[in-house]
Symmetry: C2
Subunit: 298 residues, 2 copies
């Protein structure tokens, strides 16, 4: 089978939305280019992991999940991740990577697949970076019945929130991802940036992509892991590496900015959980996630 | 390699706790016997799935997760599930099953593994029932630093709560699991049993094992999926099959009954999430889980 590029075609994406040249379209944007894979053969995909989605020199876990999510969307007969779990094994680096997928089961409304991302070590051996198990469906085929009891987070409007560009001092280390995102944090979760963490494990922000691309189910996988760690507001510093991340994608997001609200309620034993909710401009709870992460105490 | 039975030995379990003959010990209980596997060779385990853990004729998903969890505890160098995700593919039946495990990565403090449960169909082909991805560690090695902000659920004491045995009418279909459990539901989440569901997606109960065995990390995998569906309190009836279930086990539970509190906040599009918290007698938040389940609307 000839190689196939796996990303919505640029032309198709632009034509569909009629986006102005200054605003990227789904299918023709930084996010799409940097998550695009080439199918080498069924179940095997090549990609160059971008250096543009790093935070403090680590490749962002949500970006990596979106890469794996795109591979599975190609491999499985259903287009959208409904529930996807990733275990992060070793640290990914910008550069060449291979994604290998396996179809576990295909059904009428749901299919399940598995995917792993590998990179070569200095001896040329494949080292597994991340393994994912996911069930996919068609979000467009779901009935309209919506009885969500949860309510969107209360947040000031974006113009009263603050992004990395507003920060008094730059984020240490590489902050390339902040150039890719439209991120405006709720000032009530920004005490840490001013040396006065609130002590409450919360982080809230308006979220979008810097080039204006609207959200879609795959970019939601990025959105749930793209805010500063709640640990910062608890008063902990340093890296908070993700051990495992599970995302439920419940709805195709409407165009426009998202609101992401993250909560930590169980910091204990050197680990914490981060629960993220993603709300779209139509006040739909489009994604929910939980990750288990390690913290450095003291 | 000779066959090996995988369950804590009966003698060791009883001796360690000094349990009275009328109260089962960890290692010598219904739960241990019904989740015991025989290792046929490295990575391959046989088990007879018990009919004793069914609810309305379906083998309980938490019991199945505990079976897979026990296999991985044997296969991996670390004893306790820290984070475990299961995708339920096809319905399991009581009877023979095979669990196949794979070690994905072993580290100093965490190891990751994968496990699948298979049963034979009528033609004698292996059909995959469940696939699991999990990271294991040693809960006993975690530091004592506990800053849990969450608080235990407010519930009446067990003697003011109600179990299946108190129900005015029996649960339809096979309810074998209710004979295995000590389950006392919070009356404020029991409106459904009296024809008056509250409309709120909540379910709370005191939980234990009927034979008195204390909880351990593996039985927590059962506890998070052993209550009636929150859908009942929302006013929906019928089966609410689990698509995916992720459990974080954060602490070895203290002896004594557990409190399980489950919440649903996003019933939409024919799916809902159930978030479970499990609290032990020392007021520790010992496990958190989220499952994605399908509902029948209307």
């Amino acid at each position: 089978m000839s190689e196939a590029a796996i990303a919505p075609s640029a032309t198709l994406g632009s034509a569909r939305t009629g986006a102005s040249p200054s605003r990227a379209a789904i299918g023709d944007s930084e996010f799409d280019r940097d998550t695009a894979l080439t199918r080498r053969e069924p179940g095997v995909y090549d990609i160059e992991l971008s250096a543009g989605w790093t935070i403090i020199s680590a490749v962002n876990g949500g970006y990596l999940l979106a890469v794996l999510g795109r591979a599975l969307a190609d491999a499985l007969p259903h287009p959208d991740p409904f529930t996807i779990s990733a275990h992060y094994l070793t640290a990914s680096q910008p550069g060449p990577a291979v994604v290998r997928t396996e179809t576990v089961r295909t059904g009428r409304t749901l299919s399940t697949g598995q995917a792993s991302l590998f990179q070569l070590d200095e001896q040329g051996n494949e080292v597994e970076r991340i393994r994912v198990l996911a069930s996919y469906g068609d979000l467009g085929a779901l009935p309209d019945d919506v009885r969500t009891a949860a309510r969107p987070p209360q947040m000031p409007p974006p113009e009263q929130c603050f992004g990395p560009q507003d920060a008094p001092s730059p984020v240490p280390g590489s902050s390339a991802i902040t150039d890719r995102l439209f991120l405006k944090l709720d000032p009530s979760t920004l005490g840490w940036a001013l040396g006065k963490p609130s002590g409450k494990g919360e982080m809230r922000a308006w979220f979008g992509l810097a080039d204006g691309r609207d959200a879609d189910p795959l970019s939601l996988l990025l959105a749930v892991d793209a805010l500063p760690p709640t640990a910062f507001e608890i008063g902990l510093s340093g890296w908070v590496p993700t051990v495992e991340l599970t995302v439920h994608v419940r709805c195709r997001p409407a165009p426009g900015p998202l609101r992401v609200a993250i909560t930590t309620r169980n910091l204990a034993g050197g680990f914490l959980e981060e629960d993220a909710e993603v709300w779209d401009s139509a006040d739909r709870l489009v994604a929910q996630s939980r990750q288990l992460a390690r913290v450095r105490l003291g």
